[in-house]
C-alpha cells in the first residue's frame, strides 16, 4: 500500500544471486513438462501428476520461501529494515506492501510456470491449466503469508519453512492421513477439484477436504499469519546476534 516500500522491496528482491535461483526451478519445471509430454504423449493424467507433485509440491513452496526471505528476511537479518521502520508509517502498511510484492513475484515465478507446465505437459482445452492455476494461486497466497510472517518472527525462518513445506506437506502428508487435511496444498487443491467436476478423479486432482473447508482454512490461515506478522513487526527489536 506504499509505493516506495514496494519499490525498495522489489529492487532488493531481484538482486543477482536470488534472481538466478528464482529462475532455475521454474525452468526445470518447464523442462520436465516438455519431457513428460514427450514420454507420455501428452497424457493429461501424467501432466497432472507432474503438476501436483513437483509444481505444487516443490516448486511453489520453495519459490514462496525464496521470495519471502528476499522480501523481508534478509532486511531484518542485516538490520537494514530500520530505514523502513523508523518512519511515520504504520507497520501494517509496510507489511502489506511487502506482501503484495512477494505475491506478485510468486505469481510470476511459480504460479504462471505451474500453468505453463500443465499446458506443455498435456491438457484438454486448457481446463487442467486453469484448475491448477487457481489452486496454485490460492496456495501461493497462503504460503507467502505464512513464510513472510515466519521471516518476521524467527531468524531461522528458512529452515522451519522448509521443514514445513517439504516434510509436512510432502513426506508426512503421504503417510499420515490426518496430516493431509491440515495442509495448505490440500486446501488449495479442493478448489481445483471442484472446478474440474467429474474429470477431477481421472485427472488426479483430488483433495482430502471439500471446497468449503478448503477455502475457509486458507482464509483463516492467511489472515492469522498476516495479523501475527503485523503484531510482531510492531514490536520488532533489532539486535545483532548471529
Amino acid at each position: 500500500m506504499n509505493g516506495t516500500v514496494m519499490q525498495l522491496t522489489a529492487r532488493g528482491l531481484l538482486g543477482r544471486r536470488r534472481a538466478a535461483l528464482l529462475v532455475i526451478l521454474p525452468l526445470l519445471s518447464l523442462g520436465l513438462a516438455g519431457l513428460t509430454r514427450w514420454a507420455s504423449h501428452a497424457d493429461v493424467h501424467a501432466s497432472s501428476v507432474l503438476a501436483n507433485s513437483f509444481a505444487m509440491g516443490t516448486l511453489l513452496p520453495l519459490m514462496s520461501l525464496l521470495v519471502s526471505t528476499g522480501v523481508i528476511g534478509a532486511e531484518i537479518d542485516d538490520g537494514s529494515i530500520v530505514y523502513m521502520l523508523a518512519k511515520p508509517l504504520k507497520r501494517r502498511v509496510i507489511l502489506f506492501s511487502k506482501l503484495i510484492v512477494a505475491l506478485a513475484a510468486v505469481l510470476v515465478f511459480a504460479v504462471i510456470p505451474t500453468m505453463l507446465t500443465v499446458l506443455i505437459a498435456g491438457d484438454e482445452g486448457g481446463r487442467l491449466m486453469v484448475a491448477y492455476g487457481v489452486s496454485a494461486a490460492l496456495a501461493a497466497v497462503a504460503y507467502t503469508a505464512i513464510f513472510v510472517t515466519l521471516g518476521v518472527v524467527t531468524r531461522n525462518a528458512v529452515v522451519f519453512g522448509l521443514l514445513y513445506a517439504l516434510l509436512w506437506e510432502t513426506v508426512l502428508g503421504g503417510y499420515v492421513p490426518g496430516i493431509r487435511a491440515v495442509s495448505a496444498r490440500q486446501w488449495a487443491l479442493s478448489v481445483g477439484e471442484r472446478m474440474l467436476g467429474t474429470d477431477a478423479g481421472p485427472w488426479a486432482v483430488t483433495s482430502e477436504v471439500g471446497m468449503a473447508t478448503g477455502l475457509i482454512m486458507l482464509t483463516l490461515v492467511t489472515v492469522g499469519a498476516v495479523y501475527l506478522g503485523v503484531r510482531k513487526l510492531q514490536t520488532l527489536t533489532l539486535s545483532s546476534v548471529e
Partner: protein, 278 residues
Amino acid sequence: MGPGVTGLLGPNGAGKSTLISMMGGFLPPSSGTVTLDGVPVWRNTEAYRSIGLVPETEAMYDMVTGWEFVLANAKLHGLSKPDDAARAAIEQVDMADAQDRDISGYSKGMKQRIKMATALVHDPTVLLLDEPFNGMDPRQRLHLMELLQSLAAQGRTVLFSSHILEEVEEIAGTIEVVVAGRHAASGDFRHIRKLMTERPHQYTIRSSDDRALAAAIIADGSADSVDVSSGALAVQASDFGRFVHALPRLARDREVRLLEVTPADESLESVFAYLVAR
C-alpha cells in the same frame, strides 16, 4: 535530554547502542519509560517525524544509488517536496558528487554520510546518532562535528554515542556516561570532576621558585602531597576549593611568581577513567 549536543560515552559493551535503540523506539525498556515530549516512543510511529536515527549497522539498501535512497527516505516520511528535501540533505553532508553511484560501491565514510542524510531529510528536532564518526577520515569528521554543532545551535537535541573521548570532548556540552549497563554520570564533565571529591585533584604548577612554594603549600596544609621531582610542582589536593584560594595568597606571601597553574586531571579522559575504574 534537552536541546544541544549530548555525548553518550562508555566503553564498548556498556549499553550505548541499547540506550539509543530504546530512544529510537526499537527496544522497550524493561522498567521505566522513554518519552519524547511526554509521549512514549515505544510503538509510536508518529514520533519518527521528529526523530532522526543514524544506526550503527552498516547494512543499507545496496542496490540503489545514494540519491535514490535518500529520496526514498524522504518519500517514506511523507514529505510534500521529497526531491528538494533530499537534495538539501545530500548537500548538507557533502555527498552531491557521489549521489548517482550505487551504495554498494561506497566507502565506509560515504555510507556514514548517506546515513546522516537520511536522518536529516525530514528536518527532525531530535537526532540520535550511534557511533557516527566510525570510519570517517579527519576532514569528514570535522565537517560532521561542525554540522552537529550548527544543528544544535538551531535548537535541536543531538545525541551521539562514542567511545572515543576526543570526539565527545570537542563538541558535547553535556555528557552521559554509561558503564556496564548502568548510568554512571551525567552533566558537564568539569562539574562531574568536581563531584568526585574522594579523588584528590591534581595540579601542575610552574613558578619562579618551585621549592619555596612547595614548602609553603605543605606548611599551609591545604594539599595532600606536593612533588617537586619532575621539574614542576605536582600537587594533589582533596579539598581543592581551599587549595585554590590558598595558592595565590601563599605565592604572594613568599613573593613567588606563578607562571602556570594547570589542572592535570580535569580532562574528560581522567574523569572517564575514574568512572570506569570504579
